[in-house]
Structures are given as C-alpha cells and as structure tokens.
C-alpha cells in the first residue's frame, strides 16, 4: 500500500519536475541555448557586433580638456615657493659648540681685576673728552662757515647764490684711509692663488 502511494507521488513529482527543468535553463550559466543568452557576458548582440564603432567629435576635445586640467593640477603642485637663501652669518657653526674647544678660564688676582676695572674707567673718561673735543671742533668750523656765508651775502647776491648751490661733480668721492705703513713706491704685489669655496645659492 505504501509502495503504491510512494510510486504515485514520485510519478507526480516527475511529471511536475519536467517543466521546471526547462525553466531552470534560464538560471544556470553553463547552459548554452540559442534562445537564452547568458546575462553575465557583454551585450554584444548580433546587430551591434556587425558595424565599426563610431568616434564622436566631442571626444578628442574632451580628452584635450582632461589633459589640460591634469597639467594645471601638476603645475599647481610644482609651484613651490622658492626656498629662502640662508644667511650664513646668523647660523652658528657646530664647530663653535664643540666642548673640546673651551679654554680653561684663568684665575685673576684681586690686583689684576682691580687694575682692569680702573683702566676701563680711565678709558671711558678719555674717550668722553675726545668726543667732546671733536663735537666742539665741528661746531667751531660750522660757525666759521656761517660767518663766511653772511659776509658773502653782504657782498653780492649772485656770488652768495652760487656758493649755496650743491656741487654735482663732488660725489662719489673716495679716499684711501691711513694704513699702518706707508705705501712702497713702485711695488708689484705678487699674485695670490686661492681656492674660492663660497657657496652660491640659486633660486
């Protein structure tokens, strides 16, 4: 009895299983049939595969614009502000911070330090006197010039005006200052050879 029932049910199932097998063909990718195209591959349908692809005129311009935009971005990135040239005088070289270079500070006796302090005081007084003498001498010279110009004014207006005019040919004026020894007449200085190691910075 149970065997007959199971055989009937199987038969029913088998009959019902046939149409689903046909439906299943749509969902299985491996199944190749001319009526059901698989979904995953490109939509290269028959009419599309026959003609060559058309290039639109807008494309090259679009590509050019894209290239320009990329170039502009690159330029913006490259536009770095120039590095400042370092001032060598303001950078303490590491040689000066070396510990091995320190001198042993000497011990000064009391008399020595006293004499140094007294000499500094004497020096400041001497220099002050020198400065006051200089200032006075300059004032006297200016007074002499003022008197001269007044006398000239009393004499003649034209000469006075000519005296007040600035001299355009005077500047630039150069004068060699005093050295320790006087110059040797007809001296030929020897050529000095040197290696120039100055650092040149370019921006």
């Amino acid at each position: 009895m149970s065997l007959v029932v199971s055989r009937c049910i199987c038969g029913l199932l088998c009959r019902q299983a046939v149409p689903p097998r046909l439906l299943l063909g749509e969902y299985f990718p491996g199944m190749q049939s001319p009526w059901f195209s698989p979904v995953v591959t490109l939509k290269t349908s028959a009419p599309l595969r026959a003609e060559p692809k058309k290039k639109k005129k807008v494309d090259p311009r679009r590509e050019q614009m894209m290239r320009e935009r990329l170039k502009k971005k690159l330029k913006k990135l490259e536009r770095v502000p120039p590095e400042l040239i370092p001032i060598e005088d303001f950078i303490t070289p590491t040689k000066c911070l070396d510990e091995t270079r320190k001198r042993i500070p000497p011990r000064l006796s009391f008399e020595e330090s006293e004499s140094r302090a007294l000499l500094l005081k004497e020096w400041s007084q001497y220099k002050q006197k020198q400065h006051m003498a200089e200032v006075e001498a300059i004032e006297v010279a200016l007074e002499a010039q003022r008197e001269a110009l007044e006398e000239l004014k009393l004499e003649s207006k034209e000469l006075y005006q000519a005296a007040l005019k600035p001299d355009p040919l005077l500047f630039p004026v150069t004068h060699e200052g005093p050295a320790y020894t006087p110059p040797i007449p007809n001296y030929e200085a020897p050529d000095g050879k040197y290696n120039d190691v100055t650092k040149v910075y370019t921006q």
Binding site: E151, D167, P182
Partner: protein, 293 residues
C-alpha cells in the same frame, strides 16, 4: 622780492646820482631793461652798481690739506687699553683649529717618546705627522720676515718743511709766501676775484697760479669755509677800497705727486706749526676751520 629791492634802493641812493653821470652804456643798459616790469629792472642795475662800488675787494684762498697716510701712534692710555682688551678677548675666546692641532701634536710627541707606543694604533693623520703645526708656524714666520715694509717715520723727511711726504701721521696744510701790499707774508694761497667767475673758480685759479704746480685737488663744495677781512691802514683807504675780504675754500690733495717748481716758496705745515708762520689775527680765523682731530 619787494623787501630786498627796497633795501638795495635805500643803500645805493647816494650812488644812484653817480649812476646818472655815467657813460651812455650805463644809461642805455637802464633803458634796455625798461620793457620788463620795473620791479625787475632796478635790482639788476643796482647790484651792478653795488658790486662795483662796494668798498671791499674780494679774494679767494684755498686751504689744501694732505690727509694722513699712516695711523698715528697710540698714546700711553691707548696702548694699555689695547693690551688689556687683547688679553680679555683671548681669555673669552674658544680654541682655534691651529691651536687644537698644536695641542694634538704635542700629545702625540709625548706618546711617541713614551715606552708603549704603537704606531698602528694611530688614526690616519698622515699629513699632520709629516708637517707639524710648529713647522707651519716657522714657515709663516720666515715669509713674514722676508717682506720689508716702508718705514713709518723718516726723521730727515720730517724736518724738510717743503716735502709733501713729511709727518705721514698728521694732516698738513699748504702755505705760500705771497706779496701783500708792501711786504711778503706766509698765507694760504690766494688770488683776487675777477668778474664773471664764482669764488670757487677764483680759489682753483689761485691754487694753479700761486703754486705753479698741478696738484690734483678735490674741492669740497661751492661754499666757503671761512672768511678773513682786514681794513687797509687809514692812509691807504679810499672811497672804493676800505679793505679786503678773503674767503677760504677747503680742498683735499688727491695725489701726492712730487714735482713742484723750486723757486716758488711752498710749505707743508701741521696745525701746531701754523702759529710760527701766520699773523695772529689771520691765524685766529684760519685755526677755526682746520680740523686736526
């Protein structure tokens, strides 16, 4: 413009009468300017009148200075201070490369003379072993001694007052002996002013003519630096000449080129020696603008 016109008119009013008695040239000159506004006509003729009849004769003189060529010697306090500063700066400084090298060499020498010395343990200072720092110092000393600088002080030249090379540490002023009136005096070279030139040009002319040698002088500006005026003795005074005004101009000797003519009496003197040669009143005025600092 109106005020000076009035002043000049009032000053030269008694001389205006003399103006009308002049030759036709003067009156023609006055009539020529009558086209321009009257305010401008009168001052020109008035200044011409004024300059001609001014009682003072104008002269320009040049104060030519040869500036110091060498540095002056230090005074005692300056020397003491210099030594003290050098000592203090040495104490506060760091050791230099050369000093470090000297110390290293001395150490290495003492190690070499010691018993346990292994030259393989030395670091690679090949050059320093061949040429010690002391040897370098000796070679520098030799080079320094082989150079002979010119002597700072030459006693024979210092005594020669006519030489430009004397007393190189001080600034010198040029004096010339000129005939003034009846006598010969030592003065700064001067010349009389002529029409149509400025006083500075007169001074340049004075330098060329009195010294008779071409000194390369740089004149410092158009303005005079001092004035000396003297009145003639009462016997010699006339209406037109009461005295002389001498205006001084400063100049710097650019090139001490020798080659002065021997017959012209020229002297190069320091400021302290000026008193021996100049008259007292003249000296007082000249002393003010010659700076010897």
């Amino acid at each position: 413009m109106a005020a000076p016109c009035r002043k000049m008119v009032s000053r030269s009013f008694p001389q205006l009468l003399t103006c009308f008695n002049r030759t036709a040239v003067g009156s023609a000159g006055c009539r020529r300017f009558s086209i321009s506004p009257p305010g401008r006509a009168t001052p020109q003729s008035n200044t011409a009148v004024e300059r001609v009849t001014s009682p003072w004769t104008l002269m320009a003189a040049v104060c030519l200075q040869r500036l110091p060529v060498i540095t002056a010697d230090c005074s005692p306090i300056e020397q003491r201070f210099k030594q003290m500063m050098q000592q203090m700066e040495l104490e506060k400084s760091l050791l230099s490369d050369h000093e470090l090298r000297l110390m290293e060499d001395a150490e290495r020498m003492s190690r070499k003379q010691g018993n346990e010395y292994d030259s393989d343990e030395e670091e690679g200072h090949g050059d320093q072993e061949i040429m010690l720092a002391q040897d370098l110092e000796d070679t520098w000393e030799q080079r320094f001694k082989s150079f002979q600088p010119a002597p700072r002080v030459r006693a024979d030249l210092d005594k020669d007052l006519t030489s430009v090379q004397r007393c190189l540490a001080d600034s010198l002023v040029l004096l010339a002996e000129q005939q003034v009136g009846a006598e010969k005096l030592w003065l700064l070279p001067q010349a009389a002013w002529q029409e149509g030139e400025t006083l500075r040009q007169t001074a340049e002319r004075a330098l060329c003519s009195v010294t008779a040698a071409d000194f390369k002088a740089t004149f410092l500006g158009n303005a005079p630096c001092g004035v000396y005026k003297y009145k003639l003795p009462k016997a010699a005074r006339t209406e037109s000449s009461v005295g002389t005004k001498v205006f001084f101009f400063k100049a710097i000797l650019a090139d001490s080129a020798p080659g002065t003519a021997p017959n012209t009496a020229l002297l190069w003197v320091k400021k302290s020696e000026l008193q021996k040669y100049l008259k007292p009143a003249y000296m007082m005025k000249v002393d003010r603008f010659i700076l010897s600092l």
